[in-house]
């Protein structure tokens, strides 16, 4: 990992704190632990792919990092500053956005309304909203075509695009993507994530990506961690995972 990081930074040693970091994170539901003493580090400008079977705790980790689920123990730091227990609104303002699992849209609202409400929710100033919307349309141009439609009438791929677009409206520095490809054809996956990878590389976004579709996800990731029963059991580079036939067979 560090070799790649060093290379990207022109060999300079990494001194600054990771952009997002959790140490000893423990949480669960009603006494049953889902995350147990988990450590995770997301560096500035990288795409970290998190893989693991259903029930490994990936979604719970995402929710805990974004303040949607309380941490029972451990610490979360954003650029070195503790943010454990912060709510999604303040984390959004601090530059994190989350694309939740499933269709992250409201079926009875139009796409325009979802965008408008999304920007209002995270406090985007009124005079910047039109510009932000156009910026998202420039990244995911198809959205502009169905912006007046009710989100409930969109296809799975379109809905996911709107969900990602909405997350981008706050111009986050960190994007938490929870299974964006679920229910989508592999071709759609590339249509969806290729523009995001492009944006990420252009603007140095940091992305934590949870995916079941491992092969496709590895193509756009800088690093991979494998999660099982609430802990990390393997970490490395995408090509190492691809070479590791035992792990690849598992996931």
């Amino acid at each position: 990992m560090s070799a790649q990081q060093d290379q990207r930074r022109g060999g300079a040693p990494i001194l600054e704190a990771p952009i997002l970091e959790a140490r000893g994170l423990t949480t669960g539901y009603g006494g049953a632990l889902v995350l147990e003493d988990l450590d995770i580090t997301l560096h500035e400008g990288e795409v970290l792919c998190l893989i693991g079977h259903n029930g490994a705790g990936k979604s719970t980790l995402m929710k805990t990092l974004f303040g949607l689920h309380p941490a029972e123990a451990g610490e979360i730091r954003l650029r070195g500053e503790p943010v454990t227990g912060a709510d999604p609104k303040s984390l959004s303002k601090a530059g994190i956005a989350m694309v939740p699992e499933g269709r992250g849209i409201f079926p009875s609202l139009t796409v325009n309304e979802i965008f408008e409400m999304g920007m209002w929710a995270v406090g985007v100033p009124e005079d910047e909203r039109a510009e932000r919307r156009d910026w998202v349309f420039s990244i995911l141009p198809v959205i502009a075509e169905f912006r007046h439609r009710r989100a409930g009438t969109l296809s799975g791929g379109q809905a996911q695009m709107v969900s990602i677009g909405r997350a981008l409206l706050g111009r986050p520095r960190i994007l938490l993507l929870d299974e964006p490809s679920i229910g989508l054809a592999p071709k759609l996956f590339q249509d969806l994530l290729a523009p995001i990878r492009e944006l990420q590389q252009r603007e140095g976004l940091s992305i934590l990506l949870v995916e079941q579709n491992v092969r496709e996800a590895l193509k756009i990731s800088d690093r991979v961690e494998v999660m099982k029963s609430g802990r990390m059991i393997w970490k490395g580079l995408p090509e190492d995972l691809a070479d590791n036939s035992k792990l690849m067979a598992l996931y």
Binding site: L68, P88, P100, I105, F106, A121
Partner: protein
């Protein structure tokens, strides 16, 4: 001319039902709380207005106080009754029973304070004016219909044009996702309760000025609101409004054929027919959720 007279009376009654039902529908649609105490908000507002009027505070102060009382009651129910139950994974029925209980308690307290018999405020507004031979309409009827129209347009504009309105519609879709967007579902829920409860105020005031009040009126109002919400289609505020008018009209037009004690039976006949023939309601978008 009897049917024409009854149509006018039906429109007045329907307008009052429509607004109350729209309030219940707004609360139920956004929060999924079966707010049975909505009827209690209605009688509370009506008696606060009655008290203000009879104490000589004047009509405007009476309306303002009634509005504040209804809104405070709705928000208090949400914060102090429903929120604690929901925090402990309270089921739909636990919430319903709590609401039902508070509704009865409010009704009895009002009965103790103001007495259980009918009270009314006499104004010139409720005096019928001859429209044509055999048809008499009071100014209050026109006020009721105008209020229903005005409040409904204001509500639609609010829900479609403001951010809070959009968020309330979104809350109905998914409270979980609302949090992921960085909004607080609890605060939105309180706003839904405040607004939904505010919608009972015109009906409460007009009822106090017109046909008169007694503490048990809350049950009837609740029954009608519920029937209108189902007939109109759950989640459709416009549907509840239209259904409120339909029920008010039907109740009165039925008098051409039936005795007056059968009016509630007419409401339920309509409710059953709609459930049988169109389970999603007249304007329901989702049959199930």
């Amino acid at each position: 001319m009897l049917w024409l007279q009854l149509t006018f009376t039906g429109l007045q009654v329907g307008a009052l039902y429509a607004l109350t039902a729209a309030g219940f529908s707004l609360i139920f649609g956004a929060t999924r709380v079966f707010h049975f105490a909505h009827g209690a908000a209605f009688v509370l507002a009506a008696y606060v207005f009655y008290w203000a009027e009879t104490s000589g505070l004047g009509m405007v102060a009476g309306i303002v106080l009634a509005a504040l009382a209804a809104m405070a009651f709705g928000v208090a129910m949400d914060r102090l009754v429903y929120a604690p139950i929901q925090r402990h994974e309270g089921s739909f029925f636990t919430v319903f029973v709590a609401s039902f209980g508070i509704g009865i308690a409010v009704q009895n307290v009002l009965g103790m304070v103001f007495g259980r018999s009918f009270v009314t405020i006499s104004t010139g507004l409720s005096r019928s004016v001859k429209l044509m031979d055999g048809v008499y309409v009071s100014p209050l009827a026109w006020i009721a219909v105008a209020c229903a129209g005005l409040f409904f347009v204001a509500l639609l504009l609010f829900l479609n044009r403001t951010h809070v309105g959009m968020a309330l519609r979104a809350l109905a879709d998914s409270p979980e996702l609302i949090r992921a967007y960085g909004l607080d579902p609890r605060r939105l829920s309180s706003i839904a309760f405040a607004l939904g409860s505010l919608l009972v105020v015109p009906s409460a005031v007009i009822t106090a000025l017109g046909s008169g009040l007694n503490p048990t009126l809350g049950h009837h109002v609740m029954l009608i609101s519920l029937a209108a919400t189902i007939v109109g289609g759950i989640g459709s505020i416009g549907g509840a409004l239209v259904a409120g008018f339909i029920l008010g009209l039907a109740e009165n037009l039925a008098l051409v054929v039936f005795e007056s004690q059968w009016t509630e039976a007419v409401t339920f006949a309509i409710l059953f027919l709609v459930i049988l023939l169109r389970p999603a309601g007249l304007f329901g978008r989702h049959a199930t959720r």
